[in-house]
């Protein structure tokens, strides 16, 4: 049993590594972006919001197809990447990270945007008038007040990246230890009738995803109760 699980480790580890790296990047990038979305008064905000939400409705293969064209060594991004790193972007772990950031963007931006909207502009503005620099105000006021939003954003971003398939298949291929994530591995196992292995890996993914979502809902329930009590 243990041995059987061990042979799935490379795919599993790659999946978790991808999800972790993606989530970290997303949390950092989404913070200023979500804050801007929550408080801006520009008229074109709905346009930006629609673009952010696109990955929710778009088939992953469509998104993957466009990235495939962009990442191609002759493509817009692929050629720049080739010049700088002297290696191909397509079918690399870096390519997976870039597409994952776009693919999971709405799952991180939206909870943060909601959290920042609920907090409003006043706490940060007040912190500024009390002498806090923007960085200081972020860590002492905004982050503690929106930690529920960050938890939801982090977990959803992580869990959603775990579940990628179509988009990874398009730009990642299936290179062991580089781009062969768990979902791809499972697909190939089923294709080659290795149902036992597919069962094992699927079970692990199911357990991880459920655990993460459970954690979010527990924490949300607790903070809702706390709000009702005060």
């Amino acid at each position: 049993m243990m041995e059987e699980l061990l042979q799935e480790m490379p795919a599993l580890w790659l999946t978790i590594k991808l999800a972790l790296v993606t989530t970290m990047i997303l949390l950092v990038l989404s913070t200023p972006f979500a804050y801007w979305l929550a408080h801006t008064r520009v008229r074109y905000r709905p346009v930006i919001e629609a673009i952010v939400a696109l990955p929710i409705v778009l088939p992953p293969t469509v998104l993957g197809f466009y990235f495939l064209i962009l990442f191609n060594p002759d493509g817009l991004i692929g050629s720049i990447w080739q010049t700088i790193t002297n290696s191909s972007l397509l079918f690399s772990f870096s390519a997976l990270v870039i597409v994952s950031v776009f693919y999971s963007l709405p799952f991180v931006v939206q909870p943060l945007q909601n959290a920042f909207s609920a907090i409003g502009r006043q706490p940060l503005e007040k912190a500024y008038t009390l002498g806090a620099t923007p960085v200081n105000a972020f860590f002492s006021i905004l982050l503690p007040l929106s930690k529920g939003g960050y938890l939801t954003a982090g977990v959803l971003g992580f869990a959603h990246t775990l579940g990628e398939f179509g988009i990874v298949l398009m730009v990642g291929g299936s290179i062991p230890n580089e781009t062969k994530v768990a979902s791809i591995a499972i697909y190939e196992m089923v294709e080659s009738m290795q149902y036992d292995r597919a069962h094992g890996l699927s079970g692990i993914l199911l357990a991880i995803s459920f655990f993460f979502l459970l954690a979010v809902y527990f924490v949300n329930q607790r903070s809702n109760k706390k709000k009702l009590n005060t």
Partner: protein, 230 residues
């Protein structure tokens, strides 16, 4: 030694265009109908309206001069701001709320004595409380004390009596009147209440449809208003 505000601000629903010089001491009442631009004027002085253009000068210090591309950020302006419907930071104790600005500014200036402010606003018994457990009147006192302890050189109060009942208003006015006992700084007091103006303001600025008009003889003007309205 005055406060000069010569600014234009274009917002989606409203324009502010003003050129006034405010006295550098006492309580300056800023009076006008709701939607006339009182809050926008105050926010511009505090540096919270980044799209405002023009000149803001406090004593010898230029806070904003669009011609010179100069914009001192809010956290370096030393403006205390009591926001309308302001509350304390909900995740900090009353004590930590009061000390938020003091901690961040006391290394550079020492204008107020913490004990004096806590005594003036009757806050000694509330220091260890959770902000959510304070009454409306207690919150109001704490919010004003918090702004004062931020050691501002100019204190702006935006309708600080909103949300307080008649009795609490009377008490709050007493506290504001006593403010000069702990620190001698100019106060811009925004209101649409003639009674509060009559009680507190030594100078008067009237705002109509986004342009400000300085009233030199405040007493006379308020008396006329009182006669018209009562």
């Amino acid at each position: 030694m005055t406060i000069q505000v010569q600014v234009d601000l274009v917002l989606s629903d409203f324009n502010l265009s003003t050129n006034i010089t405010l006295p550098n001491s006492g309580i300056v009442g800023i009076f006008g109908e709701s939607g006339s631009g009182k809050t926008s004027l105050a926010r511009t002085i505090a540096g919270l309206e980044k799209s405002a253009t023009g000149l803001v000068r406090f004593r010898e210090t230029i806070w904003q001069d669009t011609k010179q591309k100069l914009f001192i950020p809010t956290y370096e302006r030393q403006v205390g701001f009591v926001f309308q419907d302001s509350i304390l930071f909900p995740h900090l104790s009353v004590q930590d709320n009061l000390m938020f600005g003091y901690k961040r500014r006391s290394s550079t200036i020492d204008l107020v004595d913490v004990e004096d402010v806590i005594e003036l606003f009757d806050l000694a018994n509330l220091l260890n409380r959770d902000p959510a457990s304070l009454s409306g009147g207690e919150t109001q006192r704490a919010v004003i004390a918090q702004a004062v302890l931020g050691q501002p050189q100019l204190l702006i109060m935006d309708e600080p009596m909103t949300g307080l009942d008649h009795h609490r208003r009377k008490t709050a006015v007493l506290y504001i009147e006593k403010l000069h006992e702990v620190m001698d700084i100019p106060i811009l007091y925004i209101t649409h209440s003639i009674r509060e103006l009559d009680r507190l303001a030594s100078h008067l600025v009237v705002i109509e449809h986004g342009s400000a008009l300085k009233i030199t003889d405040a007493k006379n003007y308020i008396e006329t208003l009182m006669q018209e309205n009562f």
